[in-house]
């Protein structure tokens, strides 16, 4: 064992020896299928990335197509507002989504945790994560129905409360689209996301809370000084993992809820890849856009991890 400045204890790496391998052979054999699986499905397809540097034509194939260097990337970034807009949409929607869903999940977990009776607690919890199992197409159908001009709950309610005079077609407002997707996501995932926070909360020693209570701390005090610091490592780990996926703003939700009036703010990188790569048959452009996305994701995840390390917090690797 060696001690680092921060006081953390790290296991010393053992040297890999034949003896060790022999001892762990069952484990290694168990691992082999998964390594093969990962290689075939996650690494081998990366070969297709070469398409991004070609003027790929399905007839000529990867080996026969013409090499064009970085032309496709130039097309994406030089004088092409469309892709920059798509990038902006993806990042903004992701950030809004991440912030809102993390906040809601934590708040929800805290609320659930404060429930004393077990049965209602379980019922609420179960109901809250059921939407997670619905597919996006169903959820988007519900969202459209709820926001519909005719007999949509939201419009009826707002008209009833005299907040608006007549029903509004919410889907025609480009400014609202990101928020609609964010709240749709919150509705679907809050319950599910809160599970992990809830389990982190239960791991906190109850004696701490009891002691605080005896010292006169109210509920809010206990949440603020004991529970939130207690789950901070979990929050940070989950944030790091989400930051890597920040360019994965999603596809189905935007694709299904979008319409031509809001297409400027609704297209994500994935939709762009579909539009150009598949519908327009420009495989090279689609690959270039997808590749850019992956590279940025990898960079982001390293950055987030390094930041966490620098401030002395939990980290992924």
């Amino acid at each position: 064992m060696k001690r680092k400045k921060s006081g953390q204890v790290l296991a010393v790496r053992r040297k890999v020896s034949w003896k060790l391998i022999k001892r762990q052979r069952e484990l290694i054999i168990l691992m082999v299928p998964f390594v093969i699986y990962t290689f075939i499905f996650n690494y081998a397809p990366l070969f297709g990335w070469v398409m991004a540097f070609q003027n790929y034509s399905p007839v000529k194939g990867i080996l026969g197509s013409k090499w064009i260097g970085l032309d496709k990337f130039k097309f994406l970034f030089v004088g092409n507002n469309e892709f920059l807009k798509v990038l902006r949409n993806t990042i903004c929607m992701s950030v809004i989504n991440l912030a809102l869903s993390t906040f809601c999940a934590i708040a929800f977990a805290l609320l659930i945790n404060e429930m004393i009776h077990r049965t209602p607690k379980r019922i609420v919890q179960t109901i809250s994560y059921l939407p997670h199992f619905l597919s996006w197409i169903v959820v988007c159908g519900i969202v459209k129905e709820v926001l519909s001009v005719e007999n949509g709950v939201v419009n009826e309610l707002l008209v009833f409360l005299h907040i608006i005079k007549e029903p509004v077609n919410w889907f025609t407002k480009p400014k609202l689209f990101w928020w609609i997707t964010a709240f749709a996501n919150v509705w679907k995932e809050t319950g599910w996301n809160s599970i992990i926070y809830l389990s982190a909360i239960t791991a906190i020693n109850p004696e701490l809370c009891e002691a605080a209570e005896i010292d006169g701390a109210g509920r809010l005090r206990r949440i603020w000084h004991i529970i939130l610091p207690g789950i901070k490592p979990t929050i940070i780990i989950l944030l790091i993992m989400s930051i890597g996926g920040i360019l994965n703003a999603g596809f189905e939700m935007q694709y299904l809820l979008s319409n031509s009036l809001v297409q400027d703010v609704s297209r994500t990188v994935d939709i762009y890849v579909l539009n150009y790569g598949i519908s327009q048959n420009d495989f090279s452009l689609g690959t270039a856009a997808g590749m850019f996305k992956s590279v940025v994701s990898i960079v982001l995840i390293f950055l987030a991890n390094a930041t966490a390390k620098a401030v002395g917090e939990e980290r992924l690797f």
Binding site: T172, I278, S279, N281, L285
Partner: protein
């Protein structure tokens, strides 16, 4: 192929082949074809529609002209002028059109037009309606007196489908309103052979100004801009929509649903509107050759090319064609002394029954077939096009409307135009525009323009201030470099003229 279907069984026995047909669900055609090309895995026979060109470019189809000498029905199916249009730069022909005109166009259904419910016309005693203004005037008066359907749901005087590629319902009427046929992507001046851009004509501005006024008056569906095609069909099926501009084939499902729900008065009647009264219109046109590369091909994934060809060839047999279209003699239709086919009321009703259709009649679409006349040269190819038959199949309300306007069929409601491919070989230009891909400058501009129009045209309609919205639309339009695709369209017009007349007008 549905094994429980009588006629499909009979055909299978006759030709010894079975075709299993799948249609796209929940996937647009370019996406589906794109996926096939990416995977290299195709069905044996494919009707690629607008994506046929991509299939050919991807090398997915076999050259049919190398095989068809043994299959006379197939070889003679396509007229020579059509073959010239189908021929690819490498000299080969890869697809057959799915339909070819035999002898005479008997079409009874109109294509794109402004459609209005028969009961609305009846309410106003069948007025003469020539312009868009007159249409909206009628709709307004009608809606004022009949704001709801019988069950209390409010009517929608006018709706516009602008979802995905179906947005032609919104964007292409300016060409019709100006009195030109459906070239779909531009107007071609028949005298100068010059391409005219209908997106920016004064007529386009007037058309959108009318829509804008009507929208702000509450005459146009408040949800039209966010509605998908499914939602549109659903809306039409309720009988709430009084009028719209559309292709008949696009909304005919909704009409069938209304008929089965007993709302026969809500069926639509076509109107050939123009921007000013007294103009000639060309909503309904018929031509003898399409300069398109769209049809049925056999793919490289097909293990039995001769079998596939034999199947397509056999399906063109006169008996099979009659069987497919008319059904079984004595069961589905009768023949009089002069050889004319006719049906009894009972037979007609049966043929409309969905259950009977699935169990007895053959709806197989993956095949070639004749339209116009039956191969006997006497009857119409389809019972629905037998003039005597057709009028009988109409709903009483539609019949009354037709009688009031002196029409027997839908095209009778419009002016009939026959466009001879030897004189106007460029028609219709949409067959070229549908093949645009982003690999050319024009194709890129076309995509940009389409994206831009998808976004801005609905905004023009719903704008509070039309003039500034229209100005913004024009500005955005010009930013898309439209000249690039107009130039390519112009070259295509010249190319098509050259194929047929041999004269090169391009000046190159």
């Amino acid at each position: 192929m549905n094994a429980d279907n009588d006629i499909q069984q009979m055909i299978a026995e006759k030709i010894g082949a079975i075709c299993r047909e799948t249609h796209l669900t929940g996937q647009t055609q370019p996406e589906a074809v794109g996926m096939m090309i990416a995977s290299g895995d195709y069905p044996d026979i494919i009707a690629g529609g607008n994506s046929t060109k991509q299939l050919i470019e991807a090398g997915a189809l076999i050259p049919l002209d190398e095989y068809w000498d043994d299959y006379p029905n197939l070889k003679n199916f396509t007229p020579d002028v059509q073959k010239e249009f189908l021929r690819q730069p490498d000299g080969h022909i890869y697809v057959f059109p799915q339909g070819e005109l035999y002898k005479k166009d008997m079409t009874v259904n109109a294509a794109e037009a402004f459609w209005i419910q028969a009961k609305v016309l009846e309410w106003d005693n069948y007025p003469e309606i020539e312009t868009l203004d007159q249409l909206f005037d009628l709709l307004e008066r009608y809606t004022k007196e009949n704001p709801t359907l019988e069950d209390g749901t409010s009517v929608i005087p006018y709706t516009i489908l602008c979802y995905d590629w179906y947005y032609f319902c919104l964007e292409n009427p300016p060409q019709f309103l100006d009195g030109y046929p459906n070239d779909g992507c531009c107007i071609v001046d028949p005298d100068t052979h010059k391409v005219i851009d209908y997106n920016t004509t004064p007529t386009a501005e007037r058309y959108f100004r009318i829509l804008n006024e009507q929208y702000n008056k509450g005459m146009i569906d408040s949800e039209f801009m966010t509605m998908s095609r499914d939602e549109y069909i659903q809306k039409l099926s309720t009988g709430r929509v009084l009028a719209m501009c559309d292709q008949y084939w696009n909304f005919s499902d909704a009409e069938k649903a209304m008929i089965s729900a007993g709302m026969t008065g809500n069926c639509y009647v076509p109107l050939g509107l123009t921007i000013d009264p007294g103009m000639s219109e060309q909503y309904f046109t018929s031509t003898n050759a399409l300069s398109s590369v769209d049809g049925i091909g056999i793919t490289t994934s097909c293990k039995d090319i001769d079998g596939a060809l034999q199947y397509l060839n056999d399906m063109l047999d006169p008996d099979i064609q009659t069987l497919l279209q008319w059904g079984v003699e004595g069961v589905d239709y009768l023949v009089d002394d002069e050889g004319m086919f006719y049906r009894t009321d009972e037979m007609r009703e049966k043929a409309m029954d969905p259950a009977y259709k699935t169990s007895h009649l053959c709806s197989l679409q993956l095949r070639c077939g004749y339209f116009g006349m039956n191969l006997d040269g006497k009857n119409a190819a389809m019972p629905s096009e037998q003039p005597s038959e057709f009028f009988e199949t109409l709903q009483p309300e539609v019949q009354r409307a037709f009688e009031a306007y002196g029409a027997k069929t839908y095209p009778d409601m419009l002016d009939y135009t026959f466009i001879d491919a030897t004189e106007a070989p460029w028609y219709p230009m949409w067959t070229f525009a549908n093949g645009f891909s982003t690999s050319t400058e024009g194709g890129m501009a076309w995509k940009r323009v389409a994206d831009m129009k998808h976004e801005y045209l609905p905004q023009v309609v719903i704008a509070k201030d039309f003039d500034s919205a229209w100005a913004e639309y024009l500005e955005k339009y010009n930013e898309c470099n439209p000249q690039a695709y107009l130039d390519e369209l112009q070259q295509e017009v010249y190319r098509r003229i050259k194929i047929v007349t041999g004269v090169d007008e391009s000046g190159n």
